[in-house]
Subunit: 188 residues, 2 copies
DNA sequence: CATATATCTAAGCAATCGCTTAGATATATG
DNA sequence: CATATATCTAAGCGATTGCTTAGATATATG
């Protein structure tokens, strides 16, 4: 009865996500998205409503990619704290593209937009962070001697540490990042 | 012989710095700078050449402010590691405006522009980071048992931690930031 | 006071921003 | 095959971007 869509949303959004990841929200223009996604603005807007819509779906896409390539491994590990340490190392490899690092898309967005970001964007970000933190708590809890207060405290510590790793990965040498990870887990 | 300038560079640049600090480099427009600085574009360009020029001077202005309100205190302290810990707490207060945090202008810039930022911007950023790191090393070295390798390692660790604190301060609760600082200095 | 000149205002430049729309194209149905 | 309709292309919308410039204004000198 009508013409078929020449693309799949799940495929083009991945290109959008990569662009937002590399450039940030504001700098990424609709024209750049057009080229990266391989569709024109009409299609973009009819599929995702507006630029913010493309970004929200990109965050969702990032979440899935991170789960697949990073989080599931941590989830399934039985190494406790060492599994979290490995997660830190894995994250650096995950964020690397060619010979530079682009950080974590979530952390980048926090840094760029802060707490006065759009409420929908904010919701996705905090939900992602909560998921990771809960997983950290779960792994930390393999040490049964830890009280809930200690677990909460250590998880908070690790979450902030991860943000540091994300930003620092953009400029620091891998030696410096290694020093950071080693030291970070000295006291847990 | 000629008309007098109706403003002082050092005064208007402070307003520019505050704006860049709050909004980031890209989002801050020349029209916004005009209003914040209280001068028009002609004056802005004749004093600072272009937008990048205003930003470079803003970085310099930030450096001075940080030195005055933050770094000098650390420099003059004789508390060793505890002085650095205090520096972390002081930084949070330093970055606070009203009831929200704007992070560190240097860290914000690293996060936004990364290593492919303009070379002049990059130079200022790395020089600032080096100064802070050297100061950390100096304070860590009050413990004479530490080798140069340990000093380097711990300073790297602290530098990345500080970046984490900067980004996290934008979204996390002060309880979470406190947990972070406490844990960060457990193993030094 | 008259003049030279730096500094000001305000208008305007081309380029780009996010977004819309009119008209051409393709395809599942009667 | 003819028709209805979703999807495509491409042009263009007003607003904003960084930056420039022509002309008005003010002031230290001869």
């Amino acid at each position: 009865m009508a013409r078929k869509k020449a693309y799949k949303e799940e495929e083009v959004i991945e290109k959008a996500m990569e662009l937002f990841w590399e450039k940030g929200y504001e700098v990424t223009s609709v024209r750049m998205l057009e080229k990266a996604m391989g569709i024109n603005q009409f299609s973009m807007y009819s599929s995702f409503k507006n630029k913010k819509g493309v970004f929200l779906e990109s965050l969702e896409c990032y979440k899935k990619k991170a789960k697949r390539e990073l989080i599931d491994k941590l989830k399934e590990s039985s190494e406790g704290v060492d599994a979290i340490k490995q997660y830190f190392y894995d994250f650096i490899a995950f964020s690397r593209i060619q010979d530079s690092n682009r950080g974590c898309l979530i952390t980048n967005t926090v840094s760029e937009l802060g707490e006065k970001a759009d409420p929908e964007i904010l919701r996705k970000i905090t939900s992602f962070a909560t998921d990771v933190k809960d997983l950290f708590i779960e792994k930390l809890a393999t040490d049964k001697s830890k009280t809930v207060e200690v677990l909460e405290m250590q998880a908070n510590y690790l979450m902030v540490s991860l943000q540091g790793l994300s930003v620092a990965s953009k400029m620091f040498t891998s030696k410096q990042l290694d020093d950071f990870i080693k030291n970070s887990f000295n006291n847990i």
